[in-house]
Symmetry: C2
Subunit: 292 residues, 2 copies
């Protein structure tokens, strides 16, 4: 049984704590979060046993420290916890970008860098706050770990085992490959959804327009309800890969605009057929294996 | 009790028939569809009482004729049924675009034009075929009717009553206003989803990339599984309004690209905040009121 410290007790951190408690992998959880109300909820829900008053206290007796704060705050947190980390403590995170997090860890963690296992659980984050946490959030979901050459293999094995105890499927890749892949399949769609809703919101008849929006719009824009701060941080952290994807998408859009301008129905049909086939094949392969 | 003819017995036509039967508004349904297998299913499911062998037979004794064929086929069907329409029969459709359908009706229906009530039920269409039909597909959903000055008010009242009997909420607007609104809230998102999936499908590492796609991608791209032929037809029918929306979106995208290029985190945050607030407000107003 391990002692877990959660820095940033929200949807992700809270769900990990609940899952690891249920799996009887951890027997003590100490948490630190931003708002007193959120932390009172975390205590009420049995997510944490104790609310720490500062970072040093939070991690003081931890076997594993889970950083579930927004990516924009991870560097600052690492800098402040580095002097207080127990010698054998393993550190991991849940940031949606990995090259920047690895860079911050290298800068701030010193000796402890070898015990930092960069991680990214792929679970819906359009809800936030510990009140939305649930023990089965990660069941059937993917978690990507991006260990470096210097990373202690035992630390990787421990973090892998924790996620597997939550029911997640764990894979490993380099931070660069991770960031490129997620720019394409996650960060880009988020920006596209934000852009659509923003465009409609700026119309004088926005309310009327939106009253006609149906189930297609609802699903397409679900991710536009995500945390603005979190997505600003992700955009800045993965700026280069995301810019490349945005420009690729701009070309794709221009192709469709040109086809429409020319009334080129055959090109539109070919593009739609390929997309429809790809999307249906993807769904048929059972990904993602579970819904939230 | 009325006799209903369904031309195009698929998800939409089949669901209307099931709902009107359950509401005891129609007591006889004659259907015509493309494939023998689909029509056998329609008979098995009790969607239709009789499968007609041609258009003239299908509409011969109908009080109401429901055209649920793809928009690209509506003109041809109108031309062929016009000589056979019973004198008092009311005609309506389910096309996702309305100016083009009204134009075809004006061209082909002659005297019967006054008894044609253009309609658009807003219900998920990413499934297709009568096998997916269900009596409650339209419950809580919006149906937009776009009658003209020449349209018989009694015909409008009848069609409105039919949809209300299915549990739908009915509103009226002009065909132009309809097409502009749906270019923004429906047709544009569909093209954006097709474009994203198509872009990823063209990558050499498409399969690996897609294996990392999660719940956000799943929902964002759900509409990219829609019928390619139907969406080609919608694009061609609503080309001008859709082009205007595509260009508006291109500008919105360029704004985000510029902000990323300049590392302008504040502009990104403002855009995301507005989008997130708008999307959350929309969901809080309970639209759409029901899921599929």
């Amino acid at each position: 049984m391990m002692r877990l410290a959660i820095i940033g007790v929200g949807l992700i951190g809270g769900s990990l704590a609940l899952a690891l408690r249920r799996a009887k992998v951890v027997d003590r959880v100490v948490g630190l979060g931003r708002s007193a109300g959120n932390m009172a909820t975390a205590l009420d829900m049995g997510v944490v046993d104790h609310v720490a008053s500062d970072l040093a206290e939070a991690i003081g007796e931890a076997d594993v420290v889970f950083l579930a704060v927004p990516v924009g705050q991870i560097g600052g947190v690492m800098e402040r916890i580095a002097p207080h980390l127990p010698e054998r403590a393993i550190l991991t995170d849940a940031g949606s970008t990995k090259q920047d997090v690895v860079g911050m860890a290298r800068t701030h963690l010193g000796q402890a860098f070898a015990r930092f296992v960069p991680g990214h659980p792929i679970a819906g984050a359009e809800l936030s706050g510990v009140g939305a946490a649930k023990a089965d959030l990660f069941r059937g979901r993917q978690v990507v770990l991006t260990p470096l050459a210097e990373t202690d293999p035992d630390a990787v094995a421990t973090v892998r085992a924790l996620w597997e105890a939550c029911g997640a499927r764990v894979s490993e890749m380099t931070p660069t490959a991770h960031d490129a892949a997620f720019a394409a399949v996650s960060h880009l769609p988020h920006l596209l959804a934000f852009a659509l809703v923003n465009m409609l919101a700026s119309r004088p008849d926005a309310e009327t327009l939106l009253s006609f929006a149906g189930g297609g719009f609802r699903d397409f824009t679900r991710i536009a309800a995500s945390s603005p701060e979190m997505w600003r941080d992700i955009c800045m952290a993965n700026r280069q890969a995301l810019l490349a994807e945005m420009k690729g998408y701009r070309s794709e859009l221009q192709f469709l605009i040109d086809a429409l301008e020319k009334s080129d129905a055959a090109s539109l049909l070919r593009a739609f057929e390929r997309a429809s086939r790809t999307r249906n094949d993807w769904a048929a392969r059972g990904r993602p294996r579970s819904d939230e």
